[in-house]
Amino acid sequence: MRRAGSGSSGCSAVPLLVGSAAIEGLRRRLRRAGRALARGVGVLAAALAVGAAASAWAESVEVRTIAQAQFVESASETLPPDDAPWTSRPLPDRVVREGKAEPAVLWYRLALPDIGRDAAGAPLMLYMQRLDCATRVFLNGSLVTTLESPARTSYVRWMRPHLVVLPEAMLRDGGNVVHIRGLCWERVTGLGQVLAGPDRALRPVYEERFFWQITAAQISTVFGCLAGGFMLLVWWRRRKEVEYGLFGAAAVAWALRSVTFVVESVPADLWLYWRAYYYATTGAVLIFLSLFFLRLAGKRWPRVEAALIAYGIAGPLALLLAGRIVDPALAAWWIGSFLAIIPATLAVLGAAALRERRTEQIAVVAAAGFALALAFHDFLLDRGVITFGRPFALHLGVPIMLLAMAWAMTNRFVGTLAVAENVNVELARRIREKEAELASNFARLAEFERRQAVAQERERILQDMHDGLGSQLVSSLSMVERGVAGPREVATLLRECLDDMRLAVDSLASEPESFLAALGALRYRMEPRFAAVGVRFAWRVPEDGLTDTIPAAARLQLLRIVQESLTNALRHADAQEVSVAVSVDDEAGAAALRIRVEDDGKGLPENGAARAPGRGLRNMQTRARRIGARIEFVRRDRGTRIEVRLPLAAQPA
């Protein structure tokens, strides 16, 4: 990055140095981009470059860089005299205080170049890029400002730049001198780039630096908290998915670590704990990251993991136990060792990524590699290899890495959901298959049952033809052949045959309620005959009809019994009224169908059904026995009662 005249050079590395308007626009855009820090690697990388470019531009116009300073280490409260051991140092100047427990007091003396008075009367400013100390600034021997009390009670480490007003009234013609006194606690300290110039030229430089060092760290903190918190929640619900937990822990640790960038001043007696906090959070970030890399690579090495965790705890613990004496070693070697540990675990992940070519792994490796480069940059900066005063960059790279990791974990999460959906689809398919199978089984079973029912029904009808119509036709035939039957008798016989056939047909109706209808149809057919001889008919059936299923085999037999009873009453009883009553009663805890046929006629012969029953009565008894019903013939004062009871219990529909 060169200064004066580079506006026309068309520097290919930073082609943004073309004109001030373009750069103003760019900077606005960059600031927006910065606010949305998480947007991407490219923006950040460019922004880092431009941060430096902007200061180069400011320099080139009306800003003077103060490149040389005189330095002396002196605890003096007032300006060290000219004969103090001032040494000349180029700026930026890096000072390392090895192994000292007490803070050092550093003095810098700067000769302010003559940059003339601003025509608009704007104040002249002094911009200090980096100064990690509690500082006082003097102009021409008079105190201008105090940046945090220089008392020894506060540990100060400025991450922010400083912009100091050099009051007009105190400026002298022909050479001004600035003294800077710093009370420094940091092991590595010093004075970064120093610029002098008008406010309007230096303010943007200051803001730029402030944004990248402070605001970015704040954003980083918030981002880490959110991303980490979310992932920890996922892990909380899915404990087996340790990667979510590791990532969440790393992100939260990162957020906690970033706090050290934001809090720039702590009481001196808490310094040790503050430092331990820094080591603990930094170590946690790095250990959780390395564990995450291993797990994402699909490696589960319990011993390695335990060792890493122990090593992570060892750093802050050592500081707390041994005190600040070990701080330099920790800063150099413990922190430095992670520059080996992280690449090692990342290499494991990288190898897995090369092997498996999973985009989530590749993305994490790439982002982590970038962050690692930034970390290395910071390490070199701390070690003084990179110019003192360059901004720390890791807190910019880590959010990018967290983004990549978040993306990887989201990828995994979405993948899991997709798998779950596939499982559902597969499950639905299998259920459909099973359903179809079941349906076809059921259809086969139903077909089998239907065939069986048809076969049974056929058998029943055959049996019935045999017992009923067949035998009736045979006896009619024999009567006709014997010449016993005249035309009237033959007509009666044939009509009985027809009645019998109709009864058989009626009994085929198979719904539960249809038995009553079939019984009704019998009555319907017979009623004109009763009416012809002046017999009344009474019909008593349940209000709601019959809901119980009468077994198919029983239906016809019952109809026949009723038909026989009615025929008997019609022929022999000489009755005035015949009644048929149907009911379903409870009999010994089970339902029983009861059919009662009563007449008020002559009644049965004296000796009743037992000894010399008519052929009709015997037939009825046989039929009843066949279907497991009981039949009673009762002689009443006037007339006869025939009652059939059929148990209905345990009859499937």
Partner: protein
């Protein structure tokens, strides 16, 4: 009904024995007059154009077509005529099928001549015979849902539905009239109305089915 004019009867029957019996039965009563007979559906359809009768007796088992074809044709051509199916068994599948085509009554073939004329006269006076099994079948027809007895069929008036339900339980017209608190004479006309509605219903359903299947265009 003009009682001084004899009731004209047309017979569609391929069994000559039954045809003769029926002719004799009708001839025995001066209130009836046999105006024609047909032994096949084709003959019947042809005669339908030339001879008008009050009652058509139709056998279902004709040699050239199903009797329901004749029934439907008569119902169209002579909407005021009574159509009676003659059947051996009086079984509900046959009878209900005929009612759906427009029949308003049925007769068993073994009916005595005396009964026959009595039935025809009843029919002409507005009554229709109905057996419990036929009533049951009609109830099922009008309510094709699974809950066959849960609600009365919408096509019928509440009174008609009640009559049909009681018939299906085996009650006679006299008992039904007593149970419903009306006169016995009103019951047969309810039954006849039910038959008519069922026929119209079935035909409109048939038309709907036919148009749905694209057989006819509305």
């Amino acid at each position: 009904m003009a009682s001084d004019r004899p009731i004209d009867v047309f017979l569609v029957e391929d069994d000559p024995e039954f045809a003769r019996r029926l002719a004799a039965a009708v001839a025995s009563d001066p209130g009836f007059r046999l105006v024609g007979t047909a032994a096949t559906a084709a003959e019947a359809l042809e005669a339908l154009e030339q001879v008008a009768a009050d009652i058509y007796l139709v056998d279902l088992g004709l040699p050239d077509a199903d009797g329901t074809v004749v029934i439907a044709a008569v119902r169209r051509r002579r909407p005021d005529a009574d159509i009676v199916v003659v059947t051996v068994l009086g079984d509900d599948p046959h009878v209900v099928r005929s009612i759906e085509c427009g029949a308003t009554g049925y007769l068993l073939k073994d009916v005595t001549p005396k009964e026959l004329v009595a039935r025809l006269r009843e029919l002409r006076n507005g009554g229709s015979p109905i057996s419990p099994l036929i009533a049951r079948r009609l109830l099922q027809r009008l309510r094709p849902g699974p809950a066959a007895d849960a609600e009365p069929p919408r096509l019928l008036s509440p009174r008609e539905a009640e009559v049909l339900q009681l018939v299906a339980k085996g009650f006679g017209f006299g008992e039904i009239a007593r149970l419903l608190g009306t006169s016995e004479q009103t019951i047969p006309s309810h039954v006849k109305n039910i038959y008519r509605k069922l026929a119209v219903h079935s035909r409109s359903e048939a038309v709907y089915e036919a148009s749905r299947l694209g057989i006819i265009r509305l």
